[in-house]
Amino acid sequence: MTQTVRKLQLGKIGELVPRADAPPKVKGEFVYASDLIVPGMLWGHTLRSPHAHARIASIDISQAVAMPGVHAALTHDDVPGERLYGLEFQDQPVLAIDRVLYYGEPVALVAAEHPEQARRAAESIHVEYEPLEPVADMERATELSELHPDKPTHGHGYLDDPRPNVLRHIQIQHGDVDAAGDVVVTGVYEVGSQDQAFLGPESGLAVPDGEGGVDIYVATQWLHVDRAQVAPCLGLPLSAVRIHLAGVGGAFGGREDLSMQVHGAMLALHTNRPVKIVYNREESFTGHVHRHPARIWCEHRATHEGRLVNVRMKILLDGGAYASSSTAVASNAASFAIGPYESPNALIESTAVYTNNPPCGAMRGFGAVQTCFASEAQMDKLAAALDIDPVELRLLNALAPGDVLPTGQRITGSMPVAETIRAAAALEPPPEEPLPRDVLRLPGGAGNTTNGEGVRRGVGFAVGFKNIAYSEGFDDYCAARVRLLTDGSAEVHCAAAEVGQGVTGVILQVARTELDLEDVRLAPGQTATVDSAGSASASRMTWMAAGAVRDACRAALEEQTLRPGEEVDVERIYRHAATTPLDPETGQITGERAHVAFAACAMKVVAEVDVDLGLTRVVWIGAAQDVGKAVNPQQVEGQIEGGTAQGLGLALMEEIQTRDGLITNASFTDYLIPTALDMPPVESVLIEDPEPDAPYGVKGVGEPPTVVSTAAIVAALRAATGRELARVPVKPDDICLGSETETG
């Protein structure tokens, strides 16, 4: 056996770089936000609403503050500054004022010497609620009483829908919206509410600086947007609030909105002691926004040859109690509704409504997951109705550069949909394993439910796409600062949140490439030393951080040539090409583009289903993803596998269940996520078609696999069972007791 010499100078763009955080995470040595500890620290606890909708008649903290170990009990009266905050719209109370709109809404805070003292004190706070009828059914929300009479999302350039509880309504009218086709297929699809289910619950530590300011160490996705929301609520200037990135145990969109930041800082400033808040698992399910549950009505019209003529879709999204990022999710769902296909005509209506259900917002895929599930089922129905091979039908309609999206935007950059479809279709699944088999390799797995009885095999295919980076006129930028030190080393500052996706490695790879230097380190992420990086969201962080770090490195080298021998310290801001909003009446672009760039992913899935018990084993997944340029191929494959697993969870098991707005399965006992026995091996093909305007040609890679895997897995289940399966997660009942497909 030959031994290859280990290459020491690792770490440039395109090389396979092992992750620095992997060994400590695997060994349990990584310091997460929940591990933070400082001397004199108090523990904060949040009292939350047990009701989905209620008026608050009174709050009495007198008993709590008198309890042993308790240093503070705070209510909305104690919020030093603005009493409302929000990621995009300032509509959510820091602490409930005179009403609660969802189960788990924060009502009061306690800080105590011991977490149990804090919990017990919180219990002794007497809140008098007058329960109100919850708006629990999104389909009836526009007929029921208005939850936000002040309509916080109105006046922002959207279509200001006068109906009660409309958070955003958008209609995309493309071509002749009444155009008829030779063949029509219809369907109604439903997606349940998925949770990000990150393993590290919300946690952080707020430390008063003794001068009225505060340092907040927190697991978040965007340090500077936290600061922009926290400082006004505390009544402090931005400079008095410093946010530091603490170890993040997963995010997936669930850490875009604030959790404990203002609460911890209020308690810390009130007590003049460091205060730590860690949510438990049950609390975490109410502590962040979820993926929007959706109902989607579709009508696809096509020619006999299989060309799409007109796609008509109506999308309803349950935004829950507050706006969060629902307006952007509603618009994204509409923009990507028909999938990566060209249709000369389309009518797409997307509505997000307020209800008293858990608030929904950002989650990996951001509106495109729900619509991909619906529109890919429609493409399979169309293929069946036309008796065309489903892959051929997709190739026939695949988007390509130069084509026009339903929003009127022409694709000017990379869009290798057909290549991606062909690459995934060409992957060969492993042959069927003979019986008898170990039960672990059969549907039902460790449950020992079959020796092969009832097992049918099916192959499914799907393709999906979504946008990279922020859209619709958002000023999306990223800053990076580079110091070239006199000892020959370099230090990079960038506030990009490392949420497990590996952006710190990407930043170092870019800096090493640009500086042609190995001795480069990345300073800890914080708000005080560098401008905003934007959010670790929307599959944008690699592109944006790479752009900013590249520009800062090049500027630093230039500076160095002017002042040789001196230390250089430069900061640069990178912006992608500007976008403009969609027309509120027609959903058409108002400039060159509403979205910056797009990435596609195609998947072939083999599943085995025990049709008598409705249990599933996904056997194999082949994925081809349009990645632009793989900065670190191993990490890209990791994102494809992880993203696929999250989509598998939605396909088969993950759903936040509610009854009248109350969450009934807030635990990992009853909210199940895939185990190693549920997740098959993934064979990945990376399609490297460079994005012309992006640094190094990169695209984002985090979301496309999640967008498509749910659709592809359910397609395999339909092929195996002949069932309709119009709702995810697919329940065993739907398979063994459900209705059969119309066309199958």
Partner: protein, 260 residues
């Protein structure tokens, strides 16, 4: 909260008599979850991990005495696999390897959940629960031990010290349905044996364990009989209709395995 750690069974029984409100804890796979989710605030825990008499199993006159501290991992991998195969299969379906290393048969009985995976295979094998206190020791048939959802006949001063079972040596199997392929609480489970008669018991489909029996020649109607004996409910884990359907399917498949 105090934690009492007896070193002998006698000391454990004395402490339980003195601290009737104490929660016994062995593996902690149920107790710690309850504490973490704040579902109870016991004044003290009675830690049984150091009591050697509760560990392992012994044989007496053809009967087996399974100590209440016997872990699922020990049942799954050890000598019991051949004599209590359905219990071994059931143990394999419990949680993850880490949970199976900690969780115990005694704890499963103490919790008396309708979803307890050890209960159906033990009931099919005619197990008896040994309950001990400073007042003495008694044996209660498993079907009488559990009286309802998470309720049993254990007196406040008693501890579960063992389970007695005389292995039937009849062909037997255990199956469990869950929405994923490992680490699930049963949506419905089933143990079936075919000795002199057909015997079946199910989990997550009735408030307390039920034993269904029939002569071997009535195998054809047995699946229907098992499904009819269940009293499932609709909850977050599954529907009443599905549970009854699955019991029918599982019984048919189980009979194919055991009627050899």
């Amino acid at each position: 909260m105090d934690v009492l750690t007896p070193r002998t069974l006698a000391e454990a029984l004395r402490l339980k008599a003195e601290h009737r409100e104490a929660w016994p804890i062995q593996g902690g796979t149920d107790v710690l979850v309850a504490l973490n989710f704040d579902r109870g605030r016991p004044a003290c825990l009675l830690n049984l991990n150091e009591v050697a008499e509760l560990r392992g199993f012994t044989r007496q006159d053809g009967a087996l005495r399974l100590g209440s501290g016997l872990t699922y991992a020990e049942v799954e991998h050890g000598l019991l696999r051949d004599v209590l195969p359905a219990l071994a299969e059931a143990s394999r379906t419990v949680g993850s390897p880490q949970i199976r290393n900690r969780g115990t048969i005694g704890g499963n009985l103490g919790t008396s959940s309708p979803a307890g995976d050890a209960l159906p295979p033990l009931l099919v094998e005619g197990a008896e629960v040994e309950c001990a206190s400073v007042r003495g020791t008694r044996r209660v048939p498993l079907g009488e031990f559990v009286t309802g959802v998470k309720r049993n006949v254990l007196e406040p001063d008693e501890l579960i010290t063992a389970v007695w079972v005389t292995p039937s040596r009849a062909p037997q199997t255990f199956m469990k349905v869950g929405p994923r392929n490992a680490m699930v609480i049963a949506v419905v489970s089933l143990a079936v044996s075919a000795g002199d008669e057909l015997r079946a018991s199910f989990g997550s489909a009735s408030p307390r364990p039920v034993l269904v029996t029939a002569p071997r020649e009535e195998a054809d109607s047995f699946p229907e009989r098992v499904a009819a004996a269940a009293a499932p409910i609709d909850d977050v884990r599954g529907s009443e209709r599905y549970r009854r359907h699955a019991l029918r399917v599982l019984t048919e498949r189980a009979l194919k395995r055991v009627l050899v």
